[in-house]
């Protein structure tokens, strides 16, 4: 009887302890990520809710960028483009989060829903969608673009199942489900148990919107968030070096570059002389800039696109060495003689240039403007340094009006279309107003040709030639640094980085302790 009582007690105790024994195995993994701002729109014709970073985890686009920024399968498993028609095979075994299968019918409905949002980004001919089989469809571009698939790597093209309440209950095929959204405060997603692809490691992710850079850093140090996205150079300068904050980086992707006013009218016409532009290019000590900014993680740049991207190669442009004597010689040759005050002069006019640092805002590149100012002073160039936080003021007051000599910009080719940045930022056809800093001529011709080239290899070769012309021939843009994407975290976290900021997969973060 005693034995029975003991056995019963042991059984009860073991039953009670069982959940504790299994607890570590079922412990929920969660991650809190601090990001700068809530950029979501729930308006039906401009719907960006959960299709952009940070919480671009609920819906997926048709394709994704591979390691070299070429489109690779996701919801499309295969595609071809022949005589203006795209024929695609859809991924098998995919379901939306409500259980609806991803097939030809739902794919066409999702693309039409995307178009209902009136986005001109993909430029699909909505009348051209044809169901060729359960998992095969075809469509055309309304502008005969051969680069529609490339543009589908953009997270903004993520596909939702059409529904009336997309803003409250977005139904996608992604690895996460929306749990809650408090505008300007936070958004929480939880793992989709029925996700068709590789299951993420993290069960629950909360993205906290914290606008102030210092507060984001303090929140990380205080253990209130696990990860910080959108890291500025100042944050990296103030980052504690005692191991309490860990830096994660991608390969270089962004560029910091000086763009010259190529249509400058007096007094902004000094840099119309290519020798002045070249002299400035040789006066930049890129190694020092790389060391100071971004904690030494930037790389001196020879060109705009990093060599790994599209297999462009590091040497597709020669770029400029740091050579002060050559810079001085170029200015001497251009007739600019050193004045008594250390500023060069020509015909009674000072070599004074206005440099505006504003895009996307000056805090993303500080203290680069001040350092460049000093470097240019060393060759007798007086810089009027204008720093602006607001890109709207920049465009209206300095860019559109051409009221500056040099524009410092920090951007990236955030697209697997190799012509995207070239066409939009370095040609006179630029819809974003970059005619003012574009050399025109052969660059425009090469860019236009690249848009209609028959093969991707041909596209890339034309793009390569165009960038070479921009940098080595026209010197209309001086590359300064290429910079990785950065994320900061507490120790014990390994974030799966991507050069494409929208594709940093926080869900695949691993916990090392």
């Amino acid at each position: 009887m005693k034995l029975l009582t003991k056995a019963a007690r042991f059984t009860v105790a073991a039953s009670l302890a069982m959940p504790l024994a299994f607890a570590p195995a079922f412990a929920e993994t969660s991650l809190t990520i601090a990001v700068k701002s809530d950029r979501y729109s729930v308006k039906s014709d401009k719907f960006t809710f959960t299709t952009r970073r940070p919480a671009a985890q609920i819906a997926e686009p048709a394709v994704r960028p591979d390691a070299d920024f070429n489109p690779s399968p996701l919801l499309f498993s295969d595609w071809n483009y022949v005589e203006g028609v795209y024929t695609v095979t859809l991924q098998d075994g995919v379901t939306f989060s409500d259980g609806t299968p991803w097939n030809a019918d739902t794919a066409i409905a999702s693309f039409k829903q995307y178009d209902k949002n009136k986005s001109e980004f993909l430029q699909l001919d909505q009348e051209s969608f044809t169901k060729l089989g359960d998992h095969q469809i075809s469509f055309r571009s309304e502008v005969d673009s051969a680069l529609v698939i490339e543009n589908m790597t953009h997270r903004g093209t993520s596909l939702f199942l059409p529904s009336e309440d997309m803003a409250e209950n977005p139904i996608g095929t992604g690895p996460y489900l929306l749990e809650s959204y408090e505008p300007k405060q936070q958004i929480t997603v939880v793992r989709n148990p029925d996700y068709w692809g590789e299951a993420p490691n993290v069960d629950r992710m909360t993205f906290r919107f914290i606008g102030d850079d210092n507060v984001r850093m303090l929140a990380l140090q205080n253990g209130e968030v696990d990860v910080i996205g959108e890291v500025t150079p100042q944050m990296m300068l103030s980052m504690p070096k005692d191991g309490s904050v860990v830096l994660h980086e991608s390969r270089p992707i962004r560029y910091a570059a000086l763009m010259f006013n190529m249509q400058g009218k007096a007094p902004f016409d000094i840099a119309s002389d290519v020798r002045v532009r070249k002299a400035l290019a040789h006066a930049i000590d890129r190694a020092t800039l790389a060391q100071v900014l971004w904690d030494g993680r930037g790389k001196p740049a020879k060109t705009i696109l990093p060599g790994w991207m599209f297999n462009m190669g590091d040497d597709h442009a020669e770029g400029f060495s740091y050579d002060l004597s050559h810079a001085n010689a170029l200015l001497d040759e251009a007739g600019w003689t050193m004045g008594a005050d250390g500023v060069r002069e020509k015909d009674g006019r000072k070599l004074a240039l206005r440099m505006v640092s504003a895009y996307p805002n000056v805090s993303t590149v500080k203290p680069m403007p001040e350092m460049l100012d000093q470097m240019f002073a060393a060759i007798g160039v007086d810089i009027e340094n204008i720093e602006i936080e607001d890109s709207g003021v920049y465009y209206d007051n300095y860019f559109k009006t051409g009221e500056a000599d040099i524009y410092l910009e920090y951007a990236s080719n955030n697209n697997t279309d190799p012509t995207y940045l070239l066409y939009n930022v370095f040609t006179t056809m630029s819809p974003w107003g970059y005619a003012v800093t574009s050399p025109g001529g052969n660059v425009d011709e090469l860019a236009a040709a690249s848009r209609v080239a028959k093969s991707r290899d041909e596209v890339i070769e034309l793009v390569r030639q165009a960038y070479r012309a921009v940098i080595d021939e026209h010197v209309s843009t001086i590359p300064v640094l290429t910079v990785p994407n950065f994320v900061l975290s507490r120790p014990g976290i390994d974030v799966k980085m991507s050069e494409y900021a929208d594709w940093i997969e926080y869900g695949h973060t691993t916990f090392t302790n």
Partner: protein, 312 residues
């Protein structure tokens, strides 16, 4: 009394109209094309017809004054349109964020009242040295910028002592530090006023009479001086409340408090002009309402004024 209110309302109309015009003009004439910014932010390469369509959608294709009167016509019905950035109606945006700002402003005002009455009356009643010390503390608190005070409080209470969270979720406990930050400066400023009012009343004949009658300092302060200074103090509190509602931007940003300050900061960054315009109008209205309440408080607390307006 009703006449007094009606006269005040009528007198406010030109001010409110002028304010609405300034709110509209500041935003409409500011540099930065919201249409282009929105298109570029979405990665869209715009065609001229896309730009024209969006401009038409937001009425940007019309002349300035036509836009102003259209906007004014809707604004009087509290229809400020749709947020360019979020797609929600502007009123929905304001209603999401207003409760947090109200909670913060009310808590800060209550804190400021307690601080001001304590500091002001202690400084007035204390001896020469203690009074000077208290006045020094008041001047110090008034002079310290709120962002610096916020960082100091964060350092002490969040990073060192761990008593509070840095970025809360809008819960009551997260309200303490931002409210204290705001109330210290406002409380100190109000405290100086309390001190000066009490000192001024202390030289009046009725106080001398009370002293002669043998009343203690606290009895005189509470029973005689307090009713006399209540009206002006109420005016100051109402004005401080208006100031707090509009002045929480920096503190909300530092503490991640989800109020109107966060809304307006993002709206400015995103050129969300319907939100900015509505915010400016709201702030103007709040100042108007709080100053009206202050005037009413003065009238109600002053027997002579109360009699005068009730006779009219």
């Amino acid at each position: 009394m009703l006449r007094f209110i009606l006269v005040r309302l009528a007198a406010a109309l030109p001010t409110l109209l002028g304010m609405s015009f300034v709110a509209f003009a500041i935003v409409a004439l500011a540099p930065g094309d919201p249409v282009m910014m929105e298109l570029r932010a979405m990665g869209i390469v715009p065609k001229p017809e896309d730009i024209a369509a969006i401009q038409a959608e937001y009425g940007l294709d019309k002349p300035f004054f036509a836009r102003y009167f259209d906007w004014l016509g809707r604004a009087v019905r509290f229809e400020f349109g749709t947020s360019v950035a979020t797609g929600r109606t502007v009123m929905a945006e304001i209603m999401i964020h207003l409760p947090a700002t109200l909670a913060l402003a009310i808590s800060a005002l209550l804190g400021a009242i307690v601080i001001s009455l304590t500091l002001g009356s202690l400084a007035a009643m204390a001896g020469q040295f203690a009074g000077a010390g208290l006045r020094g503390v008041t001047v110090l608190l008034v002079s310290v910028p709120s962002f610096w005070l916020a960082l100091l409080l964060i350092y002490i209470f969040v990073l060192r002592l761990g008593w509070a969270r840095l970025v809360g979720d809008g819960s009551l406990s997260d309200l303490i530090l931002p409210a204290v930050t705001l109330s210290l400066a406002v409380g100190a400023a109000l405290g100086r006023m309390v001190y000066e009012r009490i000192r001024s009343e202390m030289s009046e004949d009725y106080v001398r009479l009370a002293i002669a009658k043998g009343l203690g300092p606290m009895q005189i302060l509470i029973g005689h001086i307090a009713p006399r200074i209540a009206g002006p103090l109420a005016t100051a509190w109402a004005n401080a409340f208006g100031g707090l509602l509009g002045g929480t931007v920096i503190v909300e940003s530092i503490f991640g408090w989800p109020g109107l300050g966060q809304l307006i900061l993002e709206a400015i960054a995103q050129r969300d002009f319907p939100v900015i315009q509505a915010y400016l109008v709201f702030m103007g209205l709040i100042f108007f309402v709080t100053s009206l309440i202050a005037d009413l408080a003065v009238v109600l607390s002053d027997p002579q004024l109360r009699r005068r307006y009730s006779d009219e």
